[in-house]
Each structure stands twice: as C-alpha cells, then as structure tokens.
C-alpha cells in the first residue's frame, strides 16, 4: 500500500504538461522579442515552460512518491454528458429556435441528469423554468433575444 502510485497526480501532471506544451508550441509562432521589448510571445512562452515544469513535478511525484491516495471516486457520466450536452445545445440553437424553445429543451435535458428526475418531472421542471426565465429575462430585464426564432417562425 505504501508505494501505491497516485492516479490523481499522474493524470493532473499530464494535463498540465500537455496544456503547457500546447500553449508553448502555439506561442513560438509569435514574436519573442527581447527582455527590453518583450514581444507577444515572450510572457506566454515563459509561463508555458513553467507550467510544463510544474506538471512534470506533479507527474514525477505521482509516479515515485508514496502517498496515501484515494481513488477518483464516482463520476456520474450521465450527468457529465447530459449537462454539457444541454449547454452546447443551448448555444447552438438559441439563435435559430429562439429563447423559449431552446431553453425548454436545455432545461429538460439538464433535469434528466439527476437520477431522481423522471421524464414527467423533468418536463414539469423545464416548463416551469422556461416560463420563469422568460418572465425574468425577456419581460423583466428586457434581454434582447427573440422568444421564438427564425427556424420556427417560417
């Protein structure tokens, strides 16, 4: 048990190394400049190198240091997929469908992320939320998004 590798450290270290590397690589395309006149690439490259270094240190610690590390715990993949899917759906359709229909579908799909919401319950929550949000945002605050969009108006 005492020499167990830490999954958390290994994965997070890798993420930092990869992201740092990606930023660093992209930043090499910008002018580096000098210490006196730093170009747009200077600071990002410095930061990227630091991030890769820190990520490497975390990765190293995860591989070789002994830690009393627990596993990752439960992940509700259903929630991850439904919530992010619903958000992306809203972004993609709010212009075309308009606020009310896009919001209804988004709220409906989001509600289903909870195992305690049945389809009927999700429908009720979504309907109530849509009415509530339309009242607050469109009527109350005057947010300029058409309620029903061009895709449905035809």
């Amino acid at each position: 048990m005492d020499r167990e590798k830490s999954i958390k450290d290994i994965l997070s270290g890798l993420i930092f190394v990869v992201l740092g590397g990606a930023f660093g690589l992209a930043a090499t395309g910008y002018e580096f400049g000098t210490a006196l006149r730093m170009g747009p690439g200077y600071f990002p490259i410095v930061l990227a190198v630091v991030l890769v270094g820190l990520g490497g240190a975390i990765l190293f610690k995860g591989l070789f240091a002994s830690v009393e590390d627990r596993d990752l715990g439960i992940v509700s993949w259903r929630a991850v997929a439904l919530v992010s899917g619903a958000v992306i759906f809203f972004g993609a359709t709010v212009r075309g469908l308009g606020l009310a229909p896009a919001l209804f579908v988004t709220a409906f799909v989001t509600s289903l992320a909870s195992i305690e919401n049945s389809v009927l319950r999700a429908g009720i929550i979504a309907a109530a939320l849509t009415v509530f949000c339309v009242l607050i945002f469109s009527v109350g605050l005057g947010v300029a998004v058409p309620l029903v969009g061009p895709w449905l108006a035809g």
Binding site: L54, G73, S84, V87, A144
Partner: protein
C-alpha cells in the same frame, strides 16, 4: 472630519430609493443562495454580471457586493439548521450551531450568528472607510514594478492560505495566467491563441470561465451521489438571547471581528480561513473547551463574526489597489470594467460618490440583513426543502442565458461547457479551481506591468529588487511560499482545513 463628509456623500448615494432597492435585492438574493447548498456567490455573481450592465455603475456594484456578504449570512442558517454549510466559510458554524439546534436552541444560535455578523460587518465597514483612503494614496505612487510584485504576492498568498497541494495550486495559477493571455496582444495587436476564431480576439469571456468552473463543475460534483437533505428543525422559536447567553458571546464576537478584519485583507479566501482560525482560538481560550463540538455558543459567535468581518475587509485590496483577494473580488473587477471604470487607487479620487456609496451601502446592507434574516427565518427554512434536482437545472438555465446575453454570442455558451468539463476534471484530480480564476483575471495585468517595467528599466530585471516597495512585496511572496511548505505549518494547515471536508 474628512471622513464624516465622505460618509455623508456615501449616505446620500446609498440611500437613494433605487440604490436602496437594489441593495435590498442583492442581500436578499445573497441570503437565498447562501441558504441553498450547492450554489455559491461566485457562480451567482458571474451569472448576474451581464444583467447589471444596464444599471448605473454604483447601483450595479452595490447589488453585487450585497450578494457576496448576504451569502455569508445565509450560509450560517443552513449550517445551523441542517448541518450542511451553505457556504464554505460557514463550515465551522455547522459544528456547534447544529448541536445547539439539536438541543432546541436553534433560535439562539441563529440570533447569535445574526448579531455577531452585524456587529462584525459594521466594524469592518468602518475599518474599510478609515483604511482605504491612505492606502489608495500610497498606491498612487506605485509604478509598474510595484504593481507586478503586488500581483505576484497576491497570487502566491492565495495559494499559501488555501488548502490542498501547493504545486498543483501553482500550476492552476499558471494555467489561469495562460488562459488570460488568449486574445489580442495589448502592445502589438497580434491575436494570440485564437486559432482564427474572431470571438476569441477580445479574450475568453470570463463570465463563462467563472460559471463553468464554479457553476457547472460544482453541479457535476453534486450529482455524483445524490442525497436528499433533511431539515431537522422545522420550527424555530424564541429568536432571542438570554442575558447570560448575550454576555457569553461578547468576547468571542470582539475577537472574531478583529481576527476576521485582519485576515480578510489577505488574498485567498480570507473569510474561510478566518472562521477556522477563530474557532480554534475560541476553543483554546475557553474555560470549557470540552463543550466545543457539543453546542458551545462561542463556537458560533466567533467564527460567524470573523467570516463576516473578513467578507467586508476583503474589499480593501480591490477598492484601493484594484487587486482581487479571491474569486468573488475578481468578478467585482469584471463588474467595474464592464461599467468602464478601472478599479484601483484612482477610483476614490475620480468617483468619490461611487466609492463611498459602496462602503455605506455595505453597512446599510448589513442592517437590512438583520432585519431580513430574523423574521424571515421561516421562509428560509421552507426554502431548504426545495430539492437539488429542481435547483440545478435552474442554475444551468441562468448560466446559459446570462452568458449568452452579454455578447449575443454562442461561443460564450460553448465556453461554459468546455470550462465546466475542464474544471470538473481538475477538481476530481485534486486541483482547487479558485487559483485558476484569479490567475485568469490577473494574467493580462501581470503581463502588462511586467512589460512596462522592463521598458522603464531598459531590460534590467533587477528593477524589481532595487525598488524598495517592490522588493519588500516580492520578499513577502517568497516568505509565503517558504512558510507554506514548512512541514510544521503544512501539518497545521491540514489540521485547520480537515474539518471542512
């Protein structure tokens, strides 16, 4: 005398009907989200930020600050009644507050929390009013090197005081700084990391980052294992203190206020730290330490005063230096910028009505909170029975509409999903999200001051060490790192935060 004139100006501003109304709306909303576990002031302020665009600057900032300190109040109600901290800073209150509630003293615990918070909030607001002008004057003499060092200190201190792995927190800051680099370069106009997307020229929308990392990621975490909340105490009676109880809370309230006022100025969730610190002090000085954990009234009074005092004084670095102490203050910077005001030492001189209006509104808001909280307690109790399965779709819906409304831009909505997933992944891997947001907000400032300082010094990096103020700030930052990694402090730090889990 100058102070009196300033406060008078503040009262004139804060007491206009429109500002009073929005101050009320702010503290009411703040209490609401403070009471509800699973949604915090960071996500709420981020979602409402776009809406305040249409307000007068002072009105917008009065309301947003109200949400923040209102949440500190609301969090304690939940902590006392259902043993769940509505806010991270009220985690300590749950220890003894809930035990008091189980003994039928819920009313006394709630009254203690409200009175302690009100006293602490009033004192800390006064400290803010007295301390801000000289600090702002001193800050006016700051050049680019001083600002650079100050931001470095702010970032470093925020991790030294937070819990969890320090290396991971450092990496989160750097990642945040890099994300802050996205967009057009300020000096040359070169688009950086935009991959051809016009939407990214102005940078990643920080409302989307905040809502994603603090809103969506939090929801995903809550949905891992769903449990139904149990409101234990349905009826709260006798919302007042006996004479003996009143005497028992005076000293803890005073100590908590002093402690919170000092710790609140420090970057990095000073309000959370201060409530933990106050609890351990009260336990140490108490003549009956064995009562702690079993319903000691001092264990409610001290931490509640401390976290509320810290909530007020954490506005000091924001209003005088333009440097946020924690993510909520970072969002307040966003609110200033949306209104076309650059937060910093100039605000007090250029916008005196705004500056003093905000300060006085905090005192007014604290008063409203006491009036609001005690009689409305029944309403909050009923609110606690709103199940999470209804609540989180509402949060997602508000987040989507809010971030879309800023720029009528679908890109910002997609960004929520991306940062929600990124934030959730990193949280699962043991990386705290707060340093990332701080880095993201401060990244552009840090780069600007670095580049400016290097031009002034003709490329000599020694400028940061040759100027006394800058050198002192950097030395403090180095000290913070050293202290944080010292084994003895590490153990203490883990101890302090262990009860939060």
């Amino acid at each position: 005398m100058e102070l009196l004139a300033n406060l008078e100006l503040g009262f004139e501003t804060a007491m206009t009907p429109i500002n009073l109304l929005w101050c009320f709306v702010g503290v009411l909303l703040g209490t609401l989200i403070g009471v509800l576990p699973g949604i915090g002031p960071t996500a709420t302020i981020a979602m409402l930020l776009p809406i305040t665009f249409t307000f007068e600057p002072v009105t917008a900032l009065i309301m947003l600050s109200g949400i923040y300190y209102g949440a500190q109040y609301g969090g304690s109600t939940t902590a006392i009644l259902i043993n769940l901290p509505g806010e991270s800073s009220s985690a300590v209150t749950a220890i003894d507050g809930y035990q008091m509630a189980r003994k039928g003293m819920a009313g006394a615990a709630l009254a203690t929390a409200a009175l302690g918070s009100f006293f602490a909030g009033s004192v800390a607001t006064l400290i803010l009013a007295v301390a801000a002008p000289p600090l702002a004057r001193a800050a006016l003499g700051f050049g680019a090197p001083e600002y650079f060092s100050l931001i470095v200190l702010g970032l470093i201190a925020s991790i030294a005081l937070a819990h969890g792995s320090i290396v991971k927190a450092l990496a989160m800051i750097v990642l945040g700084l890099l994300l802050g680099m996205v967009g057009q370069d300020i000096y040359t106009g070169t688009p950086r990391f935009t991959f051809g997307y016009m939407e990214l020229y102005g940078g990643i929308n920080f409302v989307a980052v905040a809502v994603g990392v603090f809103g969506v990621a939090e929801i995903l975490r809550n949905l891992e294992n769903e449990t139904t909340r149990d409101v234990m105490v349905k009826k709260v009676s006798s919302l007042w203190l006996t004479r003996a109880q009143f005497r028992a809370i005076i000293a803890p309230v005073l100590r908590g206020t002093a402690l919170g006022s000092i710790l609140g100025i420090l970057p990095g969730g000073g309000h959370v730290l201060s409530s933990f610190a106050s609890y351990s002090i009260e336990k140490r000085v108490s003549r009956h330490p064995e009562e702690f954990g079993k319903g000691a009234i001092a264990g409610v009074a001290g931490p509640e005063s401390a976290n509320n005092a810290a909530a007020q004084t954490s506005f000091i670095p924001l209003l005088t230096l333009g440097i946020p102490a924690h993510p909520v203050m970072a969002l307040m910077i966003g609110a200033f910028i949306i209104q076309g005001i650059t937060p910093g030492p100039n605000v007090i001189r250029d916008e005196p009505a705004l500056f003093w209006g905000i300060i006085v509104s905090m005192w007014v808001g604290n008063l409203l909170l006491v009036i609001l909280n005690l009689p409305l307690i029944g309403l909050w109790v009923r609110l606690l029975s709103v199940p999470y399965r209804v609540l989180f779709p509402a949060i997602v819906a508000f987040a989507c509409i809010g971030s879309f409304a800023i720029g009528q831009n679908a890109f910002d909505v997609f960004a929520i999903a991306v940062f929600g997933l990124l934030g959730y992944t990193l949280i699962k891997l043991g990386c705290e999200p707060a340093p990332l947001l701080l880095g993201f907000v401060l990244g552009p400032l840090l780069e600007e001051h670095l580049r400016r300082a290097m031009i002034i010094s003709r490329g000599d990096p020694m400028v940061f060490l040759e100027r006394p103020i800058s050198a002192t700030l950097l030395a403090l930052a180095a000290l913070a790192v050293i202290v944080a990694v010292l084994p003895s402090v590490r153990r203490k730090r883990d101890q302090v935060f262990v009860e939060e889990e």
